[in-house]
């Protein structure tokens, strides 16, 4: 009974946040002179209106879920891994190159490409963790800087050595990956691919890992109270490396999934311009680093994005309203984390006075 109550209470705050976000969106819609109800109706239709739009939303949420899960794990351990974007790009690039140049049967190459993506993302993330553990370089900053290096490196690789020279267009991209290697689509003619199932399974696995295993418990303990964790014998550096590797690996998997399931090639800028990684970080903040919550929040953010696109097609309201809603939502949630803390402290105080 208590458990149900707790879950319900956990739901109130996110719902309140969504509500506040929608109010901010309504203000934005009014500013550009749109009709709030009609606009939101179009937005809903764009995200969930029919089966095609719905699967489209889920397809968009796939990389957001995976990147968000990675960030959530690092946040849980108390490390601000802001490098999901770079890790995702290197993951996508390695997956594309593996798929293009590794011989063998399709299913084998596909799995190898996914593994290559995970490894590339994990190594890039581990590098930042190593710089912090070994040299004391602030992880938050190094991961941010490594993003830019990864973006330009990816751009270079597909502009010079691995550029597609067969097509007529002068796009910075690799050649198309062979069809036998593609991740299968879940429904005929829809954008949703097997990567979504991988993402959901990953969310469950990470939940199981953080909440039901000893290592996961140690990671959570390290994040919520570092001194206590060290006192209790948690090896901080080891946990840091572990959480960073898994975190980067998930971001790399997100990139690999996009390349093998949607784009079938690595196109410069396609992963960063859709800002999947940053949406993943937002999802993590919204769900306060809870793995299953992150998956739900990722689908919500994806719905806001696809919904905003649908809205722009059918009304005069620009799709940027969607990003206003997302940003206000996130800010509100981060403020809430503080507010609940404040309330707790006040309760303590009043207890002290009554005694």
């Amino acid at each position: 009974m208590n458990r149900v109550k707790e879950t319900l209470r956990g739901l109130v705050q996110p719902l309140l946040a969504v509500f506040i976000g929608l109010i901010a969106g309504a203000v934005a819609i009014l500013i550009v002179g749109g009709n709030v109800v009609d606009t939101y109706a179009e937005m809903w239709k764009g995200a969930f209106g029919n089966f095609y739009f719905f699967t489209n939303t889920l397809a968009r949420s796939t990389p957001i879920i995976l990147a968000g899960l990675g960030v959530a794990l690092a946040f849980r351990a108390g490390f601000f891994n802001m490098g999901a974007e770079g890790q995702m790009i290197l993951g996508g690039l390695s997956a594309a190159l593996t798929a293009l140049y590794l011989p063998g049967p399709g299913w084998f190459v596909c799995i190898a490409a996914i593994v290559a993506g995970i490894v590339a993302g994990g190594v890039w993330s581990l590098f930042a963790g190593w710089l912090d553990a070994r040299f004391g370089m602030n992880l938050l900053i190094t991961t941010l800087l490594l993003n830019y290096i990864a973006i330009y490196f990816g751009g270079y690789m597909v502009s010079y050595p691995f550029k597609d020279r067969t097509g007529s267009a002068a796009m910075a991209q690799t050649p198309m990956i062979d069809q036998s290697i593609w991740l299968p689509k879940l429904f005929q003619g829809m954008g949703l691919h097997a990567g979504f199932i991988i993402a959901i399974v990953a969310a469950m696995l990470i939940y199981w890992f953080t909440h039901k295993t000893v290592t996961g418990y140690e990671i959570r303990m390290l994040g919520s109270n570092p001194s206590f964790a060290t006192y209790g014998g948690v090896r901080r550096i080891r946990m840091m490396m572990l959480s960073m590797v898994v975190s980067g690996g998930l971001a790399g998997l997100a990139g690999a999934g996009e390349v093998l399931g949607t784009q079938y090639r690595f196109l410069d800028g396609s992963l960063s311009s859709a800002s999947y990684a940053w949406s993943g970080i937002m999802a993590t903040l919204l769900a306060r680093s809870h793995p299953l919550g992150t998956a739900v929040a990722a689908i919500l953010l994806a719905a806001l994005q696809t919904g905003a696109m649908g809205m722009e097609r059918n009304t005069d309201v620009p799709l940027e309203v969607g990003s206003v809603i997302q940003a206000v939502l996130t800010l509100f949630v981060s403020a809430q984390i503080g507010y609940s803390f404040l309330k707790r402290r006040k309760e303590k105080k009043s207890n002290a006075t009554t005694v």
Binding site: F135, Y156, A327, T330, S334, G338, F341
Partner: protein
């Protein structure tokens, strides 16, 4: 080599350095009162955008800069309220502030100018270029130091002013005491929250100026996400300079020089990807060589941080 390191190159170093320097000084103020402001990037972005909007509305550069200062102060007040009054983790608030800045500027770009991605008006007048009398006639020095926007000179003056303020004035001493030990500061009657608010709002002013230099300094235009990580580089400059105005200036010069060099190198037959990567690599290398242990301790003290 001769054509690589000419006077124009050092001149552009000064110009490029200014947004980083101004934002980093703001970051230094925040960290002196114990707040690690990751939102610099977002504040500078809002500053750049509102400077353009102000210029569009009033047709006057001075009013544009003032408008930008007011808008950015509002956003930094929001940061202050959430992280000081609601006691939210300043890093998380900073990250969401960056999201908010990106969202609001792209939306407002569409809502006000009805364009996507970038706004450019060739008739818009940017910041004036000041020629310094006497200095401009010295052959090499004149080319480097003269003919910049007022904000470039303001940045340098602010470094000296802040250095003096923080380390030689009573008020500066109080400000530092808030960051060193808020409880001790409070016990001798210093208004800790008031000083923290003051520092964050001042940081907003500096970020607005940084943004104005970005969008009105050289070419008068705004592009989506035009800060391109400069706010984060400013954060590194704050850390490397140990939140010390002169030190911050030193690291900003380094980063400004690297960016100027990377722009200059594009004229050579190098892939632009590597020249664009250069400032970020140098920032990483600089972090490697100039580690700041006190920062690590501060972060530990503050509880949930990256370390």
């Amino acid at each position: 080599m001769q054509q690589l390191f000419d006077a124009a190159m050092f001149g552009s170093t000064l110009r490029i350095m200014t947004p980083i320097l101004l934002a980093a000084l703001g970051g230094a103020l925040c960290s002196r009162v114990g707040l690690f402001n990751v939102g610099l990037e977002g504040l500078v972005l809002i500053g750049a955008f509102s400077a353009i909007v102000g210029n569009y509305l009033f047709g006057n550069v001075l009013l544009a800069v003032l408008f930008s200062i007011i808008i950015v102060m509002l956003f930094s007040a929001l940061f202050a309220f959430i992280s000081i009054n609601l006691k939210a983790n300043a890093i998380v608030v900073g990250i969401s502030l960056n999201f908010l800045a990106a969202g609001v500027t792209t939306f407002a770009l569409r809502a006000i100018f009805d364009v996507k991605g970038a706004y450019y008006d060739k008739d818009m007048v940017g910041l004036p270029k000041w020629d310094i009398p006497l200095i401009k006639d010295i052959p090499w020095v004149g080319d480097v130091l003269s003919g910049h926007s007022p904000l470039v000179y303001l940045g340098i003056v602010l470094v000296i002013g802040l250095q003096f303020y923080l380390f030689k004035s009573v008020s500066g001493f109080r400000l530092r005491s808030v960051g060193e030990n808020p409880i001790a500061a409070q016990s001798i009657g210093i208004k800790v929250r008031g000083i923290q608010y003051g520092a964050v709002l001042m940081c907003g002013v500096l970020c607005a100026l940084a943004g104005a230099q970005l969008s009105l300094g050289q070419v008068t235009m705004f592009t989506e996400g035009m800060t391109a990580g400069r706010g984060f580089i400013a954060l590194v400059a704050t850390m490397l300079g140990q939140a010390n105005p002169l030190g911050v200036m030193g690291s900003s010069v380094l980063f400004g020089f690297m960016e100027a060099l990377s722009i200059r190198l594009q004229g050579f037959s190098l892939p632009t990807h590597f020249t664009l990567m250069l400032p970020y690599i140098v920032t990483l290398v600089a972090m490697f060589f100039f580690k700041d242990r006190t920062y690590a301790q501060d972060a530990l003290k503050a509880g949930g941080s990256s370390r």
